[in-house]
């Protein structure tokens, strides 16, 4: 005899945050998996292609014009120089797509979250489930991209595998932050504004050229932005460079993750308990 809905809802009673968390974010993941299986896979799978195309076009086409790049660790091919940046960017894009447009749709158009929160789920279940899904997608992209990098001979040491966890941290930061921002957005219009900000962040992140082409103040601004932090995180992890700089990059993302989760839960609670 299986438990009833009421018995199940009483399992976490008395534990910390029992009003907000039922301990079932995996059901939100399951929902996304069902939807993914039936149709959304085209969008997800094709998303992986984008950074690969950039890598091929820029790495080899532009690379032939650029020649080698000198970095702190010596001369590297242009393709090897841009690969970590593209990986971080694609982790960002994948995570943001799931946590922004998809969340916006579920929040305001299909009202899926209203349905979820009419059950015994809590807002933290929803937030965690959605972010975990974005992460799995980010992780899958990162893994596939890492395999391609190594097939192209762009990974020369075993540290290269660290590209995957590094990209997942980046995806986590963007997913929770993106979801928090989305939960405050009221129209498509405001959403577009958010996206206007992304293109310059990508183009100026130094994914395609060393930041030294910019004056000091410009570099300072860029380094304060999350994508640059993500690129540095991936680059350093792949180079096995465990310095205090790497710690700063990781901390940056940990803060992003916590702040994002906090505001998402708070906002979802306010939205649905108004």
């Amino acid at each position: 005899m299986s438990s009833t809905a009421v018995e199940l809802s009483e399992r976490r009673l008395g534990q910390f945050g029992d009003k907000y968390f039922a301990g079932r974010p995996q059901q939100v993941l399951l929902r996304n998996w069902i939807s993914f299986k039936s149709s959304a896979w085209i969008a997800v799978v094709s998303g992986f292609l984008e950074p690969v195309l950039y890598l091929l076009s820029f790495g080899y086409g532009v690379g032939a014009l650029v020649g080698n790049i000198s970095t702190t660790t010596g001369q590297v091919s242009y393709a090897a120089f841009i690969a970590p940046g593209l990986l971080a960017s694609s982790a960002m894009n994948g995570a943001l797509l799931d946590s922004t447009w998809n969340v916006f749709f579920k929040l305001n158009e299909s009202r899926l979250y209203n349905a979820m929160l009419a059950t015994s789920l809590g807002p933290l279940d929803v937030a965690l489930g959605e972010i975990a899904w974005a992460l799995m997608r980010g992780g899958a992209y990162a893994t596939a991209f890492t395999i391609i990098m190594s097939a192209l001979g762009l990974i020369t040491t075993w540290w290269g595998i660290l590209a995957i966890p590094a990209a997942i941290i980046v995806a986590f930061g963007f997913a929770s932050f993106g979801m928090a921002i989305t939960s405050y957005m009221k129209s498509h219009h405001q959403m577009n504004f958010f996206y206007i900000f992304l293109l310059p962040m990508f183009l100026f992140s130094g994914a395609f050229y060393p930041l030294t082409v910019f004056p000091g103040w410009g570099q300072a601004i860029i380094k304060a932005l999350p994508l640059r932090q993500g690129i540095e995180l991936v680059t350093r992890a792949m180079a096995g460079e465990f310095s205090v700089h790497l710690l700063v990059n990781v901390t940056y993302f940990l803060v992003m993750i916590c702040v994002g989760l906090f505001f998402t839960t708070k906002r979802l609670n306010a939205l649905f308990m108004k």
């Binding site: 149709s39 085209i42 969008a43 094709s46 998303g47 292609l49 984008e50 195309l53 950039y54 091929l56 076009s57 820029f58 086409g61 532009v62 032939a64 014009l65 650029v66 020649g67 790049i69 242009y78 206007i196 293109l199 310059p200 183009l203 100026f204 130094g206 395609f208 050229y209 082409v213 910019f214």
Partner: protein, 266 residues
């Protein structure tokens, strides 16, 4: 003045449709203008100057600054992006989201006029973007020759070719689920990256160059480079570029007339 002159409506139907579209765009004029200015600036500063400084310090390309090399390609690419958006979204809205085309069909306006009207409106909007983009290029010092202003019609030509094809394609789509993803990821981005935009097409392996030949962006870029600096293009090659772009416009529009008519007049 309540009598509608049916003759007149049917003769100027295309212009009525175009006018309605342009009025609708005017609501977004601020954003369109903003995007038209900000987009070239971003690309010129980041890729043109950022990547350019690496290339110019190495061996350069075509004997000109990388910015000059890039300029006509970016101009044509902006035209293509703008004109495609401007036909795809109204087509989806007209057939599906708002079904306005079916409303128009109960007036004397024909399917052909609707499709041509959208196309014209898209080209008007693209012209504005192209002019703004060109001015930005000029101020960045990316234009060298006295014929550089002709790069504007060349870019528009590419925009028209792409818009015509997209009009037919968008008209065919009944379920938009992944249409935008597919157009973006399987058409627009590969075209942007593999049309000799960022480096000469001849640098790519020959099997990839083939995609370049199909791309309106490459044809317009070749014409544009010929016009903006000392880039040598032979007479027959130039003719071929014009021919391919013209053929795309012709085939795209003809197909779109058929497709619109089939959907609206069945």
């Amino acid at each position: 003045m309540s009598t509608i002159n049916i003759r007149k409506v049917s003769r100027f139907g295309t212009l009525h449709v175009a006018e309605a579209r342009i009025r609708n765009m005017a609501k977004w004029a601020g954003i369109i203008f903003f995007a038209a200015v900000i987009n070239p600036t971003l690309y010129l500063v980041s890729i043109g100057i950022g990547v350019g400084s690496l290339i110019d310090a190495n061996k350069g390309v075509d004997g000109v600054s990388y910015l000059t090399f890039l300029a006509p390609a970016l101009l044509a690419s902006a035209a293509i992006q703008g004109s495609s958006d401007e036909v795809i979204f109204p087509t989806m809205a007209g057939f599906k989201w708002e079904r306005t085309f079916f409303g128009m069909r109960s007036t004397p306006i024909t399917a052909r006029q609707i499709s041509l009207g959208l196309f014209i409106a898209a080209m008007v909007r693209t012209s504005v973007s192209v002019v703004i983009y060109w001015i930005a290029l000029y101020y960045f010092g990316a234009l060298e020759s006295s014929t550089a202003w002709l790069a504007m019609p060349a870019a528009l030509f590419a925009g028209a070719a792409m818009a015509a094809v997209m009009l037919a394609l968008a008209g065919k789509i009944e379920k938009e689920d992944f249409f935008f993803t597919i157009v973006g990821r399987f058409i627009m981005i590969p075209m942007f990256l593999f049309s000799g935009t960022f480096y000469p097409l001849s640098q790519m392996p020959i099997f990839l160059q083939f995609f370049g030949w199909l791309s309106p962006l490459w044809h317009a870029t070749e014409i544009g480079r010929y016009l903006t600096y000392d880039y040598p293009v032979s007479g027959p090659a130039l003719f071929m570029h014009f021919f391919v772009l013209s053929a795309m416009i012709f085939i795209g529009l003809t197909a779109s007339f058929r497709i619109f008519a089939a959907r609206l007049e069945k």
